[in-house]
Symmetry: C2
Subunit: 365 residues, 2 copies
């Protein structure tokens, strides 16, 4: 193998591959990146058996070939270079990364031991990258990180006509986003690991295509494809969530509320709980802790209906408000231990996002 | 106590006090900040018995008084506020931090249990804050962090006529800075904890006055004074360092060399060592590791004298080059296991900085 490529393109491709692969593996072969140079491109591919990535980068290929090298050292070397072009060439048992003044030689691993990288399953449809990333940023973060309950570590991704619906919950809160979807030939209703989607949210650009079969899902954008095994289990249906008891409506500026929550939360008890007291033209946040003291702050709000005043964990409240930054947020509050629903106060948004947070017992005072 | 102050001034003073106090203490009284409101200012003071700080902030004092409150919660509350003015008032067993829409109530601690905050010892002289900070940034970072050898955790600060000389070593490298000094009535030759000086380097502005007696040293700038106990022990004299064997001189751009070191260090052995091969018009950095592979990169340089080619730990090399960023650096290299001296290639600089690094055995190849 012998090729010349634009340093930044190749460095970006290698960095993206490293970030999309889990990197927990101790097996050096699975921690390797397969480079295949052919035609006018080099393909970077890797797999830890569960997840697989494949990225293409244009290159002037002097000699075609296929090698396996340690992924992270390759990515770090490419990232550290400050010259416009870089040459990759097999030299004996090494892959040499060459620039005019320098040579970095990575050991070659045995490519025949690599399990290979599966191709993507059939196309299910595609979605606007920017909206998808925005939805994932909120929804994937709402899934649980507790591997002991794999069901809750996934995001349910479901195509419904010309809408794509994403939902995740860790049982204390739930986020549901619905966004425009260009349907393809295959149906889509899959439980996808949230950790991968959170990583995709950092990288995807342009249009994102979703591919699916019974066992695997693939996400493709630009020159990148990542596939992963689906999670088992049937996720609770997001359409069954009862909101029939909403008796209190509050509308206010999301950023103002987040700032007040951050301040009042400094005085919250060990559970981190603060109370949202609903008044006539304001809400009043309250916290109290035997050690820390107590705090209260009022924020102007439009209030209608009742005066039901729930308490929440402050970090869940902040997570629920963040997606509505720069806008007014609507709180639909239910009495008792039923969830409060956060949504945009503007009904005309392209992406419909609802964020539900379960209430907590109020702080002692 | 009851006062009104500019939020940002008071928040900055509280934040500075918290950063200058070690904060490791479990005693809530020592983790407290004494606020004394009187005249047209509030004084914030704290001490963990070893270190002590005192900062003044102008305020409209409605009722004079003195209280002790938890330092970090006060600083965090003030930092989180987004209104221009804040009121601090004792209300029962609380200090209330009040803004038009909010009230945060901190518990009062028993001020009578506080050991008090000693005043600064007599003045030794003063130094330009910007130069002092620049010198400390390099010198304090060179001291050891190993508390088992307290001698090496200090910076020797010595007044010598109209120069202030700062020196620190962790036995593997040594930094010596000399800068202009306005001498005062008292002599100065003290071993000051590097950890405090590193913190001072982040905060000091304007002119910095140094105060000293047999047991304590004080640093004062603006409305801030911090004092600390001196370290015991006599530090090796920085004037005794033999440079008689220098046989090789290299001069080159510091930033270019740092960038190359970072790249080649990716292939360094477990010790992190790379070799600096001195050639005719360049130096060539080399590293090799059984696992990682090997790397080499050449950097243009002016070379005179011999061709002595030492090896260094890459992180020490980077630390030695950083202070010369944006300029050309001079390496005075000695054969055998004697130190290499890094200094500015420009002899006319106001601050004279020399950085010595001990060589290592070369990497195996």
């Amino acid at each position: 193998m012998d090729l010349t490529a634009t340093t930044s393109d190749l460095a970006n491709a290698a960095a993206e591959a490293v970030r999309l692969l889990p990197g927990r593996t101790l097996d050096p072969v699975l921690a390797g990146l397969l480079l295949t140079a052919d035609g006018d491109a080099v393909v970077l591919a890797g797999s830890d058996r569960e997840r697989a990535v494949r990225l293409s980068c244009s290159a002037a290929v002097h000699t075609a070939g296929r090698v396996l090298v340690p992924a992270k050292p390759l990515a770090e070397t490419l990232r550290a270079l400050d010259v416009p072009m870089v040459r990759l060439a097999v030299e004996g048992a090494r892959l040499a990364v060459r620039t005019p003044n320098a040579r970095f030689a990575l050991p070659l691993l045995d490519a025949d031991l690599h399990p290979g990288v599966p191709s993507a399953p059939p196309l299910a449809g595609s979605v606007d990258g920017e909206l998808f990333v925005s939805a994932l940023t909120t929804v994937a973060a709402t899934a649980s990180r507790d591997e002991a309950l794999p069901l809750f570590t996934g995001v349910r991704v479901r195509a419904d006509g010309d809408r794509l619906v994403l939902a995740a919950t860790d049982r204390y809160r739930m986020a549901i986003a619905s966004l425009p979807w260009t349907p393809g030939p295959h149906a889509l209703d899959a439980l996808i690991p949230a950790a991968l989607l959170a990583e995709v949210a950092k990288q995807a650009r342009g249009s994102v295509a979703l591919h699916v079969d019974e066992n695997r899902v693939g996400l493709a954008w630009g020159q990148s494809v990542v596939t992963t095994a689906l999670l088992d289990g049937s996720f609770l249906s997001e359409s069954k969530i009862a909101l029939s008891d909403v008796d209190t409506h509050v509308e206010l500026d999301a950023d103002t509320l987040v700032a007040a929550v951050r301040r009042v939360a400094l005085y919250a008890d060990a559970r981190g709980v603060l109370r949202v007291e609903v008044g006539d033209n304001e809400i009043r946040l309250r916290s109290a802790d035997q050690q820390a003291g107590e705090a209260e702050e009022s924020v102007k709000a439009d209030v209608s209906g009742g005066r039901t005043s729930p308490s929440f964990q402050s970090r869940f409240l902040i997570d629920a408000l963040k997606p509505f930054s720069g806008r007014r947020v609507h709180l639909a509050i239910q009495p008792g231990m039923r969830a409060t629903v956060f949504s945009s106060a503007d009904p005309g948004e392209v992406m419909d996002l609802r964020y539900m947070v379960a209430p907590m017992r109020p702080p002692a005072t």
